[in-house]
């Protein structure tokens, strides 16, 4: 009886589940979610087929059109009205390099395949005969140059193809096959693919043999496979229920989602398929997720405020990487197209310190464009400054040091001792290289060369108390995030329930400093409920000494972030001194 009831229950649940999925699929136009595993992608070309007997050769060149940002980068008034918005916008033709080529017969059977070369040229053979074949250049590469697919959506996993038919009665040159930047916008898919190749070429050029000069540096050959999902007129932010234009990378899934417009519109909406800054920025996130490692909490950022240093590092790296690959100190994101209205959605110079400027020492570790500028200063040849009393006249061409710091498994980002990674960790790793002195460019950006401002590793010991002097909240600058918080990296050596105690004293007045204690898991997204594993935030009754205590079950060898937070909702107070103890022993800075 019970078995029957359970069976019926399961059947019912299954039916309900199926109906739910189907109705959801209909309601979302066939979209499920960005992590969805749809049908397997069609197998990549297994290699060319050798035909015996009479064959003919089909050859040609594959190219795509790129709609370039209008207005000269770094000059003019591009996108803001005036002469530079005249249509048509500048465009350029580029070869489709190292991409898959497939030839199919009228029934759709694969009869031959190969790849374009570095000029976009292809040459393949098929049996001679009065058969009309279709040659398609595919938006995929899987070779020593690049491993990437540009597909339509996770729910379908279809590639894009630039196709032309031919009859195999004699050898034929198809001439130039052009993927355009208008109409079906096929050029967009190949532009995305081409930018991935640009990134791989840059890395091979800069750090293909970096271990020869920097021990432990990971020599780059080709990046693991990435999939970019793009569809003309589709906004990936739809997955999150928003109509605001968005391109993003999905950590852990090796998937990029590139903005193709909004509800079918590409002429007046934000698109990113020709915004190489955005494409390369998101690819940089793929690299950090797959080749070194990232602890970024993700989320929004506007490039002009104090943010979580892990986010500042990750986004600053992305901004820098696109500039390095494109060899220009610009970040350019455009809106619209020839047939509509055009603007520059975000266009900023990465060389000049005219935005996201640190106002106190150490604040550069919390600002993404400060991170970007520092990395750019490490590779460019400009003698910038003086800024904040320092001039960059010594550091240039050091991408290899950045890469070494990121890829070394000891004293590098891949070092298992590192956690909650931010620019402070990069500085630690760069200093450990015993290579170039970056102190001038760090001073220019008011960055500390270590993790003292965020994720300082602590263990039990003896040390002086620390202090906090809270400031008012300001959502525009968000500087209170740094000033009103302290963040410590704690890794217990044994699994147990720990009592973590914050003791603080404020006798300064006239107000009362109110310090609270939060313990986060490794995700440690600030004030996100899922990541807070324990907290204590009682209200102090007045000046004097107060405690906050948290009892949490911690696992040996796991990273936790302890956050001392000054609550200023009831007033600022003066200065509080404080210490943290675990099971009665004080926590102090140490090296893991």
């Amino acid at each position: 009886m019970a078995g029957r009831v359970l069976s019926t229950l399961i059947l019912l649940l299954s039916i309900l589940g199926c109906n739910s999925e189907d109705s959801a699929s209909v309601a979302t136009g066939g979209r499920i979610d960005p992590s969805y595993n749809g049908p397997a992608e069609t197998d990549y070309c297994p290699g060319s087929t050798n035909y015996t007997g009479s064959t003919v050769t089909v050859s040609g060149t594959a190219k795509f059109t790129r709609r370039n940002p209008w207005g000269t980068e770094g000059a003019g008034n591009g996108g803001l009205g005036g002469a530079l918005t005249t249509s048509p916008h500048p465009a350029s033709e580029h070869p489709i390099r190292y991409a898959e080529v497939r030839i199919t017969d009228p029934a759709g059977n694969l009869v031959q395949c190969g790849e374009t070369d570095g000029t976009g040229a292809f040459s393949l053979t098929v049996p001679t005969g009065a058969v009309t074949y279709t040659l398609s250049v595919i938006s995929r590469s899987y070779n020593s140059k690049l491993r990437a697919s540009v597909l339509n959506r996770p729910e379908q996993n279809r590639f894009y193809s630039l196709s032309q038919t031919f009859t195999a009665s004699s050898s034929v040159n198809l001439g130039v096959l052009m993927a355009k930047a208008s109409g079906d916008n096929l050029g967009a898919a190949f532009n995305i693919l081409d930018q991935f190749l640009e990134a791989n070429e840059y890395l091979r050029s800069e750090v293909g043999n970096c271990s020869a000069t920097l021990a432990g540096c990971l020599d780059f050959t080709v990046a693991p496979k990435v999939v970019a999902y793009w569809e003309n007129g589709f906004n990936p932010n739809s997955y999150f229920g928003s109509s605001s234009g968005l391109s993003f990378y999905l950590p852990g899934y090796s998937r990029l989602f590139i903005l193709g417009g909004n509800n079918g519109d590409v002429d007046n909406s934000d698109t990113d398929h020709f915004d190489n800054s955005v494409i390369l920025h998101e690819y940089a996130h793929f690299l950090e997720d797959n080749i070194f490692t990232s602890d970024s909490p993700g989320g929004s950022h506007n490039g002009d405020r104090v943010i979580d240093p892990r986010l500042a590092w990750s986004e600053g790296w992305g901004n820098f990487f696109q500039a390095a690959v494109r060899n220009t100190a610009k970040y350019t994101d455009s809106l619209g197209n020839d047939d509509g209205t055009t603007r520059l959605i975000f266009d900023a110079d990465l060389e000049t310190a005219d935005r996201d400027e640190p106002t106190t020492d150490g604040q550069g570790n919390f600002r993404e464009f400060s991170v970007t500028r520092l990395l750019w200063d490490a590779v460019d040849a400009n003698a910038d400054g003086p800024t904040n009393g320092a001039t960059d006249n010594v550091v240039s061409g050091k991408f290899n040091e950045i890469w070494a710091a990121l890829t070394k498994s000891s004293d590098g980002f891949r070092d298992e001792a590192y956690a909650f990674r931010n620019i402070g960790h990069l500085h630690l790793a760069q200093v450990a290289l015993n290579a170039t002195d970056w102190s001038t460019i760090r001073t220019m950006e008011r960055q500390h060369p270590d993790t003292r401002d965020y994720a300082q590793y602590v263990t039990t010991g003896a040390c002086a108390d620390e202090s906090i002097t809270p400031i008012s909240t300001n959502t525009a600058t968000n500087e209170h995030f740094q000033t009103n918080n302290r963040f410590y990296h704690f890794r217990p050596t044994s699994s147990a329930t720990y009592t973590i105690t914050l003791t603080y004293t404020d006798n300064t007045g006239p107000g009362v400093v109110d310090l609270d204690l939060y313990v986060y898991n490794k995700n440690a997204r600030f004030m996100v409920a899922q990541d807070v594993i324990g907290y204590s935030h009682s209200q102090p009754s007045g000046l004097g000494t107060h405690t906050e205590t948290v009892n949490v079950s911690l696992t040996a060898g796991t990273d936790y972030l302890i956050n001392v937070n000054a609550y200023v909702g009831a007033g600022l107070g003066g200065t509080a001194t404080f210490n943290l103890k675990v099971n009665g022993s004080q926590l102090c800075p140490a090296t893991l």
Partner: protein, 208 residues
């Protein structure tokens, strides 16, 4: 297959389903925890951790005032809201009006001399639909600040907007369900299905 085997399979699935349901209930409880935060309000994370592209300070939105157009000749009013997270000067705006609509009242393009931080400015336009087809109206705004340039675009669909809003809501719900499943898988130590890309050298990571 014998009856015993079938029963055993059903029983296993049932137990698994009940365990899953209990697990989900527990997770939902955990998601609400801690419920009694009195100071810094804890927030809920999005369903999947993901990076986002840079956004400037400008933001444009369009709202419909009154009824939406149904038939040719219907007049309707759109209100644009232009918002900035910082003080900006000389903020330009432009309504992009497609063929099939005509302007009855309002300014198609203009400049807001000073846009104060977190103080949205309204720009309103009255349009007449010349036919029953869906038309996409855009409000585009742009500004410059310290050598940088920013813009944003908002879209309104004369006929389909309600359906689009419903679809967005459904997609978010679908993504949230997937994020919840991913979280459950992570907690249970299981892995989701095969990934289309190469094996991640660090192993699969599921983010909440």
């Amino acid at each position: 297959m014998s009856g015993h085997s079938l029963s055993a399979i059903f029983l296993f699935i049932a137990v698994a389903a009940i365990a899953m349901a209990t697990h989900i209930a527990d997770l939902r409880k955990q998601e609400r925890r801690p419920a009694s935060v009195k100071k810094e309000q804890l927030t809920t994370a999005p369903p999947f951790k993901h990076t986002e592209k840079l956004r400037g300070p400008l933001n444009a939105m369009i709202e419909l005032i009154g009824a939406h157009p149904i038939a040719a000749g219907d007049v309707f009013v759109l209100r644009g809201l232009i918002h900035s997270t910082k003080d900006l000067q000389d903020v330009e705006f432009k309504w992009s009006i497609p063929a099939g609509l005509e302007v009855v009242n309002g300014t198609v393009a203009g400049t807001i001399s000073i846009l104060k931080s977190n103080q949205p400015t309204e720009v309103q336009i009255t349009l007449r639909a010349l036919g029953p087809e869906n038309r996409q109206v855009h409000l585009i705004t742009n500004a410059a600040d310290r050598g940088a340039r920013f813009a944003d675009s908002a879209q309104y669909n004369t006929v389909l907007q309600a359906k689009i809003d419903q679809r967005l809501k459904a997609m978010r719900a679908s993504t949230e369900r997937a994020g919840f499943r991913a979280k459950s898988l992570r907690k249970s130590g299981a892995k989701p299905g095969p990934q289309p890309a190469d094996s991640n050298r660090h192993g699969l990571k599921i983010y909440e």
